[in-house]
Amino acid sequence: MTELLRIEGLTVTPQNAPDKLLVNNVSFTLGSGKTTCVVGESGSGKSLTALSVMGLLSSQLRLAQGKVIFQGQDLVGISNDALRKIRGGRIGMIFQEPMTSLNPVLTIGKQISETLIVHQGLRGQALKARIAALLEQVGIPAGRASSYPDELSGGQRQRVMIAMSIACEPVMLIADEPTTALDVTVQAQILALLNKLKTRMNMAMLFITHDFGVVADIADDVVVMFRGEIVESGPVAEVLHNPQHPYTQALLACVPDADGKRPLKPIDYAWLNEGAAA
């Protein structure tokens, strides 16, 4: 496995409360062409980890420590100009809310063209052809390039977001809960599309989710986060079928199974706290 991304000792704190560790000493690696899922509840630090990789932390937060080594280069502390060349170029991104991530007053073709113009300097017929090809790749008829976001369904909007993020053929895609706001059937289609693109383009994915069902469908490796720390990580089959940490076991037990055979069990935080103290 060739290593694409290595996160080392990543620590994020609020600017005004340096003792509060929102992300605490997080380290993991992502292999080229592989999918790593970061799983956790709200507030576990999973989204902050993804934002740190892209240098997109809010100004209220500080990357206190750690390295983000992408293709051998540490992204922490490099200039904004240099980062901007990488984001949207070698690293693509998609977010949770396809409703709010698109500009409502621009056609989707126009929005896809922005990345292509900035990163690849395409124009004219070449630009048009590339937009059409990208739309077809994500399963939208090329003729829809002149549509506005409000004319598309939620699933189609997320497809447009994917077209934008893969426009420059990134080697890594960061996806922050891209299917959480979607219906199950549409979610299944989007996950299948991402899997297909990943294989075709040999693209690695850093995939943030709270749903172990989604993890089972797309991950090669899993990183489980709880209160800012990694509690367990490993290949997907091991983490799903033989979870070692009590938190991973608890998180798995509260996912309703499709056969309804396993009783639902909410997470017992009091017990987890005691376990941590012992």
């Binding site: 709200s42 199950v184 059937t185 979610q187 172990f212 998180l251 499709a258 056969d259 909410p266 997470i267």
Partner: protein, 267 residues
């Protein structure tokens, strides 16, 4: 055969949607197309379908929050659609709703005590003291405390807000509760807590649930019966086992196959 508490017969409802150039034309969208279903006393009937299938319209029409174009809704033998204002209001106490978005469905300017107590006040149930006691007991039952009565919704997390929404609906001791995607905005861990709470309360208070959801994993755990909606029509209906083990319709099979991690997590 248990008693049927709520029954819908041949419900229809359509919306006009602007279409064409500059929205000058209109097309008729059939949100409910001849929908009939029965909710048995003390059981849970889940209505599943995708966005736009008409399941939320069904919920609102059943409670007369939206006027029907046609059909009747029988609650304990009475047709709700034919009831006048005051008579309908009286029945509303017994027909409550838990909403999807715990961030949008609670008035941000009201204290939790007022929110939960408002129904009791409107229906003039008990003295001020009795109402206060009821609100306290209800809040404690859903896992909140008396002190929380003085707080505002924004001081609570999503899961706690959904508990407030449940307390608000159940303090009136309804017979039927329509839950419109009550856990779809919540994290899985919180979702499990709320589902178990709803199940416990159903037992204690002899509630009948109409449970609207697009998540078939959740439905498997909470429902006794399932109705599948597609483009305004009820295309399949039956016990939860029969629908999951032997779906008759292609569309239902498709829905079941979309459940994430189905194969991998089954082991």
């Amino acid at each position: 055969m248990s008693e049927i508490i709520l029954s819908a017969r041949h419900l229809t409802k359509s919306y006009k949607q602007r279409s064409g150039r500059f929205g000058l034309g209109t097309t008729l969208v059939k949100a409910l197309d001849d929908v009939s279903l029965d909710l048995k006393q003390g059981s849970t009937l889940a209505v599943v379908g995708e966005s736009g299938s008409g399941k939320s319209t069904l919920a609102r029409c059943l409670l007369q929050l939206l006027p029907l174009d046609g059909g009747e809704v029988l609650f304990q033998g009475q047709d709700l659609a034919k009831l006048s204002g005051p008579a309908l209001r009286e029945q509303r106490r017994f027909l409550q709703m838990v909403f999807q978005d715990p961030f949008a469905s609670l008035n941000p300017r009201m204290r939790v005590g007022q929110i939960v107590g408002e129904g009791l006040l409107i229906h003039q149930l008990g003295t001020q003291e009795e109402r206060h006691d009821k609100v306290v007991r209800m809040l404690q039952r859903v896992g909140l405390s008396e002190a929380d009565m003085q707080k505002y919704p924004h001081q609570f997390s999503g899961g706690q807000r959904q508990r407030i929404g449940i307390a608000r609906a159940l303090v009136l001791e309804p017979r039927v509760v329509v839950c419109d995607e009550p856990v779809s905005a919540l994290d899985v861990s919180i979702q499990a807590q709320i589902l178990l709470l709803l199940k416990e309360l159903q037992q204690e208070m002899a509630l009948s649930y109409l449970f609207i959801s697009h998540d078939l994993r959740v439905v498997r755990h909470i429902a006794d019966e399932v109705a599948v909606m597609y483009q305004g029509k009820l295309i399949e209906q039956g016990s939860v086992e029969s629908i999951y083990d032997a779906p008759a319709q292609e569309y239902t099979r498709n829905l079941l196959q979309s459940i994430p991690g189905r194969r991998a997590l089954a082991a």
